[in-house]
Chain length 426, copies 2
């Protein structure tokens, strides 16, 4: 059996590596730079090492012709949103057309890209039918098996997770099940593609909403002068409490998937108020953090035009280089609007990529020590940043006005007070 | 040391029982009928047996005079909401005044009633000061230790839980900690009353919001023709998913507490959109279930005026007699508006109480078998109701129009189809 995997990103690469232990795998990516890197054993996402990537039965390519004559096609392309928060299905469309043009009779196509329930059957399958001139569920077969990739998480990797497999016919279901059984801890089957699509999208929606709740609580408790994190820790002593922390919600999944489901809901004239109001709240948190910073500058009678703020972290998450939908940009935009100068430090992210995509200059953390600031915003808890407060204490212009924004609640209130910081915690 | 406990309900009774192992306890309740029952060893809430209730060192009384000369006062009165969803603090007020009138110097008052952060210090303490003419934190001391009673739950009872204790001064904190340490698995201390109040209220808010989310998903998936429960079960195979089920949210806690926090938020001119939009959604579910029933009656061309619906369950939760804020009433109100006759069966609840509070006649389940219906709504999963579908099949007027509303997803779709039911599942 020969497998072709479309997309060699966060989802496609680990999948390609895992399957190449058992099958010949063609890993196709449209991005030639990415393919070049992978051929050298380099994963710019820093999730896999050279030894894992360079495998005998694993071929990386941008050449469509190599995709012919495979039995299984797995589609792992990104499903982002457009600037208006509508699903951007373009890559899914291109992948469906690509597969449609090359599949032979009896091919099996598995979609792993996150999407709304109904997308595979209503959007992808018609494209494949059109370009292949083959008939769905007669000449070719489709399954949906949602990726559960969690960038930076070393425990919940492919081989340790339960993989959902959904297909409408029993044969495809069993075939795809036995395929994934080889590389995952276990496979959970559902005999309906839409159920599998739905399961994936609601996992992230639940997470988004729970973070939105603690964000709402954080804003309220701040007004009531109650330390949110102490309340959350106390509540967490209850047997059925879920400990979420307030914060910025970025990345490719949680901040995107709710819009996919909302898109499908609106087609059915249903407006998912709760889901979207959670989204709106999380989208406002970058500005909120920046506003708290500005408020502290004001309260300490610091002149905005002369102020300099250090922003520690640009990635959307701790200890990874992933900058997709990072909400740090919201903080920077607000500071810029207020004419406050800032320096952004992050040794994880690719400086070129950030410059290209966001027009922001990123500096290595080592340059932090060469400056003095009015305020420090610790946004991303990269290990490198988790220094003692006495370290940060040394890099303020004015020793009586040390403004410190501890977005992730890394420090205790006791410590912040002891170091005489003017602080804000989410 | 002598303890007086104000309120002998779901919270006060187990507390009184537990403390009476170590101390002399006066259990005071304003409800004379309740006191009379307890003196006979009867708990109408069906949470405690005679042997537990009748203890040497435990006195039940409605006589205020017996409250004098105690060292510790624990207030466990209900904190419900008014019909406009505003906190009804009247019982808390009465309890505070009562305690204020009788305490001596150095008394320690512990509040267990759920409330919003700030209520103890801003509402209760001033009343105690006024009526005692003693000074807070000088002449008397206050702690807040939120109850975590879960009616019907046999695992998470007082002795098995972690109990939060919050007080603003160290002495009170340690004193109350050592008190609860005797009767609970462990005590978690916070040196701030507001943090303890906040912790309690957000536990239930989180639960309310998570149920609201699956309710919203259920409404949407119903429109998309996707079985919600199958999606939830599949999603639950992810390591960090929380498995909540759609349903009616009643009871004294989850459907009430969010309004308490919202009340305090609005005083600070903050409108907690997310919390209240979850509340609104959950409040709409009774009507939604009734509407689905009506829709099925219509689709099966059944005449409303001649239809008869069996509603199984009236309590707010399975296998308990608790009817506080039951949302079954919303279903009944809608059916009544549509001129559809119904019978309500529930062998758990007190028929007198329901008649008095809701003007609804409740019948024992044994009378169910004497009738034939057009539709059966299984709302509450009392064990008694969890019969095979073939059992329910026998009690329909028309064997081709067996409408079954499985609110709690007790049955599989396969079974429902096999029994030829016209069904709806949340």
């Amino acid at each position: 059996m020969k497998i072709a995997i479309i997309g060699s990103g966060y989802v496609g690469l680990p999948l390609s590596i895992a399957f190449s232990k058992y099958y010949s795998v063609i890993a196709y990516d449209i991005n030639q730079k990415r393919v070049k890197d992978l051929l050298k054993g380099i994963d710019s996402n820093q999730q896999h090492r050279k030894k894992e990537i360079l495998k005998k039965k694993l071929i990386f390519t941008s050449n469509k012709n190599l995709l012919k004559d495979n039995d299984i096609y797995i589609i792992t392309v990104p499903t982002p949103i457009k600037s208006n928060n509508q699903p951007d299905l373009n890559m899914l469309k291109q992948a469906s057309i690509l597969v449609g043009k090359i599949i032979k009779k009896n091919a099996c196509i598995i979609f792993e890209s996150t999407t709304y329930p109904g997308c595979t059957e209503e959007f992808c399958v018609p494209l494949i039918q059109k370009f292949s001139k083959l008939k769905f569920e007669k000449d070719f077969f489709v399954a949906y098996s949602p990726e559960r990739v969690n960038p930076g998480d070393k425990a919940n990797v492919l081989k340790n997770i339960v993989k959902i497999v959904g297909a409408n016919d029993k044969n495809t279901l069993l075939k795809v099940k036995s395929l994934y059984k080889k590389i995952c801890r276990s496979v959970y089957i559902v005999n309906n593609i839409k159920v599998a699509e739905g399961a994936k999208v609601i996992e992230n929606i639940q997470r988004d909403l729970n973070i939105a709740l603690v964000n709402e609580l954080s804003i309220l408790f701040n007004k009531l002068n109650i330390p949110t994190n102490e309340v959350l820790k106390a509540a967490n002593t209850k047997w059925n409490f879920h400990y979420y922390k307030p914060g910025l919600v970025g990345g490719h999944c949680i901040s995107v998937d709710p819009y996919y489901l909302a898109h499908q809901a609106k087609k059915k004239k249903f407006f998912p108020k709760l889901i979207l109001s959670g989204r709106r709240l999380n989208e406002s948190m970058g500005k909120y953090v920046a506003m708290q910073t500005v408020k502290l500058l004001k309260n300490n009678s610091l002149d905005f035009n002369k102020s300099r703020v250090a922003v520690l972290g640009f990635a959307f998450k701790d200890n990874i280089p992933d900058i997709r939908n990072t909400k740090v940009i919201q903080i920077l935009e607000y500071l810029r609007k207020k004419n406050i100068k800032f320096d952004v430090f992050d040794s994880w992210v690719s400086k070129e990529q950030v410059k290209k995509e966001y027009k922001i200059i990123i500096k290595d953390f080592k340059y932090f020590k060469k400056n003095k600031f009015d305020a420090i915003i610790l946004v991303v808890s990269h290990k490198l940043f988790l220094k003692k407060l006495s370290f940060y204490s040394k890099f303020y212009k004015n020793n009586n006005k040390k403004i410190f924004i501890d977005v992730k609640n890394n420090y205790s209130i006791k410590d912040l007070n002891k170091n005489n910081f003017k602080y804000f915690q989410l």
